[in-house]
């Protein structure tokens, strides 16, 4: 039965860890935009060919 002490503390600590991770993720803004990362993964990086010219 004494093993329960270990199991309980592990379970509470794990739940606490997930809570902390959630709060951290939320603070980092991970839940602010759930859609654009899925678009971003397909984007081609460093395209040339926009040929933008600005006349001053």
């Amino acid at each position: 039965m004494k093993i329960l002490v270990l199991l309980i503390s592990v379970s509470v600590l794990m739940a606490l860890l997930f809570l902390i991770l959630f709060i951290k993720a939320q603070k980092n803004g991970q839940f602010e935009d759930l859609e654009s990362p899925s678009f971003r993964i397909l984007n081609e990086k460093n395209k040339t060919g926009y040929n933008a010219k600005r006349k001053i």
């Binding site: 839940f31 654009s36 926009y50 600005r54």
Partner: protein
């Protein structure tokens, strides 16, 4: 860049292969694209790219962003080299948009980083100070994403922050609830672990810890509100909630520390968890929509001064008498003055509601707030510009919250004394029956009578209705408006732009073989006519300057002709041009020197299904129409629906407000449906004001909600759903009263065992939440809204 044309048909995008449905599509190189992002990326992929812009193109609206006081307000961060700014780009709608906008650093080396938030339709950029905010705005505009900076963005930021914090509280409460539940489980099932004093003690003290955490952080707001209401001697639904929470907690502490029981701490955590979920659900913000835009977002505060050919930018309040202000096509008139030169065709629809643009002769006064359409004009300042005074006339007074209290507040007003009465009554009774149990019965009554189900039914009912409404593109500012919507018995419509489709005065190209020069000729000809179809053709040719025309002749009901650059140009009906047509809708043909070169169609003026729309609305409410236009449409309106309570024409915004006041004094619950700015006074005055809009990102001060034009015909069904909210609330109220009665019966009888409390309390919350959500979705399905 190739000339682009707008179509309003469902076609496949040549780049992303999606069906182009949202708004206008872009046509470039004979291909149809769903957005500018796709079109530009197609160019890049096929090496057709080439994008030029120049600093001269910056418009008044954008130039003011460079003024230090505006700039400092708009940017999120700045040092002496760079600045960081978030800008709302309502046009973002697909992955190509994201890709193009995140490639923004390719367009100018001063742009360092660029990041899109798709859900909020915002772009965050870091830019070198050499590249001002006005340049950035112009670049985005040229790319097809006209930016919207929000000078008054603080309110929506605050709303977002509270919601984020609420979610965090939900997480903490959920954590405590789950763990607490787990440690209470063996107790409920009477498992032998109870015999083990070590574990029984451990579980109890862990639960005490979780409960303290719940009370300290997630439940804090309830204590604060309850305390404040008590101080102000006002009744509030949070008072009985706090009473219940305290009763549960204190009694549980007593049981645990006296070793007589296990307490109800898991129920307590669950209660707070459900309450917070309900609150979060109700306040779910639609961050894409801003209701908080102010007049400052709309009227320019700096102008292009053109004194003796020298152009510079100055603030409106620094102008002196005699200064000349230049206003280009599509810009808002920022000053009061007289027309110095140029062809002023000014659309005052924002101010007066009159949809036909007004022509002003040289020397005539020009008023602030109109929009110049056509060529550049010069305005001479004849009076000192008192911006504060002008703005105060435009300012939208804050919608006053009616002090009428919500019925849950009224219920809680009776609820608390009643519960206390029962509690003390049973305390007294048990004192004579079995004094040892009296205190237990007293606290049991307080615990079980907690109005949690009552407090949950309102947020979940309103929240799920708001969710259905916004799925149908009817966005409400606050969920409280639902109950006001349900009461409406008199609906007042604005005509222009509300009942009629302003987008339908847009030309649909059937045939267009005009060169750019010829487009300028045609535009200059139709510029001479006030006919709505001429205006439609005129507006079709964007970004083209008008030129001199001669021998203009307008033949009423047929068309207009004139000579430009020695070419005879005819614009008008099929008969006028001399071709045969089998179309029935309004059409405009263009011929140059006798050759038919272009052919435009115009859609129906009134919105689709308007007849049945009126019919179904009139079952529950009386209808009226107020129009800023002249009465030429009176007969048409009558044929659409013969039983209007009132139909008025030539109404100024203030006359509309006066009408709403009249209705109120007659005891009507009014709903005003209008379009944004020109109806703002009436929208504000009515019990509930709804702006009908083609996009959700315009300027809709003092409206309680936005109805996207595409969903206009769904309005009767949407209103039907809001009317249903009352019966949902009553049903859920009946349920929670039923649960409370059972619970109190147990408690008064002195047999509220922990297992009964543990089952009864979460069960009542869950059934109430489930019931209201199910009822609302069933009704919405029945009304074909889901």
């Amino acid at each position: 860049m190739e000339p682009t044309t707008s179509y309003k048909v469902n076609q496949q995008c040549a780049f992303c292969n999606e069906t182009c449905t949202q708004g206008d599509t872009i046509v470039r190189h004979d291909q149809t694209f769903c957005c500018f992002g796709c079109a530009t990326l197609y160019d890049v992929q096929n090496n057709l790219g080439g994008f030029e812009w120049s600093d001269d193109e910056i418009s008044i609206e954008y130039k003011q962003y460079d003024l230090p006081e505006v700039f400092n307000q708009l940017v999120d961060f700045q040092n002496d080299k760079i600045y960081k700014v978030s800008v709302s780009l309502p046009e973002i709608h697909c992955s190509s948009c994201v890709e193009l906008l995140e490639d923004l650093p390719e367009f100018d080396e001063a742009i360092h980083t660029s990041h899109v938030n798709f859900e909020e339709r915002t772009l965050t950029v870091t830019v070198g100070k050499s590249f001002g905010l006005a340049h950035l705005s112009m670049l985005l505009d040229k790319l097809g994403y006209p930016p919207q900076f929000n000078v008054s963005k603080k309110a929506s930021q605050k709303r977002k922050k509270t919601q984020t914090e609420l979610l965090r509280k939900v997480a903490v409460a959920g954590f405590c609830f789950g763990n607490s539940m787990m440690f209470s489980m063996p107790h409920y099932f009477g498992l032998s672990i109870l015999g083990d004093t070590f574990f029984a003690g451990l579980f109890r003290y862990l639960n005490v810890g979780f409960s303290v955490l719940v009370l300290a952080y997630p439940a804090r707001d309830y204590f604060v509100t309850a305390y404040q209401s008590v101080l102000r001697k006002k009744s509030h639904i949070d008072i009985p909630i706090v009473l219940g929470i305290l009763a549960i907690w204190i009694w549980s502490m007593y049981e645990i520390f006296s070793g007589t029981g296990f307490g109800y701490l898991d129920s307590l955590a669950g209660l707070i968890f459900f309450l917070l979920v309900g609150k979060w659900y109700q306040n779910k913000v639609y961050s894409r929509i801003t209701f908080e835009r102010s007049i400052h977002d709309f009227l320019p505060i700096s102008v292009r001064r053109n004194n003796a050919g020298i152009t510079d930018w100055v603030r409106v309040n620094e102008l002196s008498i005699g200064d000349i202000v230049e206003v280009k096509n599509g810009e808002v008139i920022p000053v009061n003055g007289v027309l110095k030169s140029g062809k002023a065709v000014i659309d005052y629809s924002f101010v007066t509601g009159e949809s036909v643009a007004e022509r002003t002769a040289v020397g005539q006064p020009i008023f602030i707030g109109g929009k110049q359409t056509g060529s550049t004009i010069l305005i001479e300042i004849t009076e000192k510009q008192d911006t504060a005074k002008i703005w105060s006339a435009w300012k939208t007074p804050k919608k006053q919250e009616k002090s009428e209290s919500h019925w849950t507040t009224i219920v809680s007003m009776y609820f608390t004394p009643l519960v206390l009465l029962i509690a003390f009554g049973s305390l007294a009774a048990w004192y004579f029956i079995d004094a040892s149990k009296a205190l237990f019965v007293f606290s049991s009554v307080l615990i079980v009578a907690c109005p949690c189900a009552l407090a949950l039914s309102t947020p979940f009912t309103l929240g799920s209705i708001v969710r259905v409404l916004s799925k149908n593109e009817f966005y409400l500012k606050s969920s409280d408006s639902i109950e006001k919507l349900a009461e409406v018995d008199h609906i007042v419509f604005d005509k222009t732009g509300t009942l009629t489709d302003s987008a339908s005065s847009k030309a649909i190209v059937i045939e267009d073989c005009l060169t750019q020069t010829q487009q300028a000729w045609v535009k200059s000809i139709v510029n001479q006519s006030n006919h709505p179809l001429s205006q439609g053709v005129f507006n079709h040719f964007k970004n083209i300057e008008c030129i001199e025309v001669s021998e203009v002749q307008e033949i009423e009901g047929k068309g207009i002709q004139g000579i430009v650059d020695d070419h005879l140009i005819l614009v008008g009906s099929a008969a006028f041009i001399g071709v045969t047509s089998n179309h029935t809708s309004s059409e405009v043909y263009v011929s140059i020197d006798g050759d038919v070169r272009a052919h435009f169609g115009f859609g129906n003026q009134y919105r689709k299904g308007i007849k049945s729309f009126f019919k179904s609305l009139s079952q529950k409410a009386r209808l009226s129409v107020l129009s800023g236009d002249n009465d030429s449409e009176a007969d048409t309106l009558k044929s659409l629906y013969p039983h209007f309570q009132t139909v008025r024409f030539n109404n100024s915004p203030n006359a509309k407000k006066a009408f709403i006041d009249e209705c109120h004094s007659a005891g009507d619950h009014t709903m005003m449906i209008g379009d944004g700015l020109n109806d703002q006074v009436a929208l504000h005055q009515s019990d509930i004001g709804i702006a009908v809009a083609n996009t959700i990102n315009g300027f809709y001060p003092s409206s309680d909600g936005i109805l996207v034009a595409n969903s206009f015909e769904k309005l009767p069904r949407l209103l039907e759903l809001t009317r249903y909210s009352g019966s949902v609330l009553k049903t859920s109220l009946a349920f929670s009263v039923f649960y409370n009665l059972i619970g109190i019966a147990f408690a008064v009888a002195g047999s509220l065992t922990p297992i009964v409390a543990a089952i009864l309390m979460p069960l009542s919350s869950i059934t109430v939440v489930g019931l209201v959500t199910a009822l609302v979705s069933l009704k919405a399905k029945k009304l074909r809204l889901l």
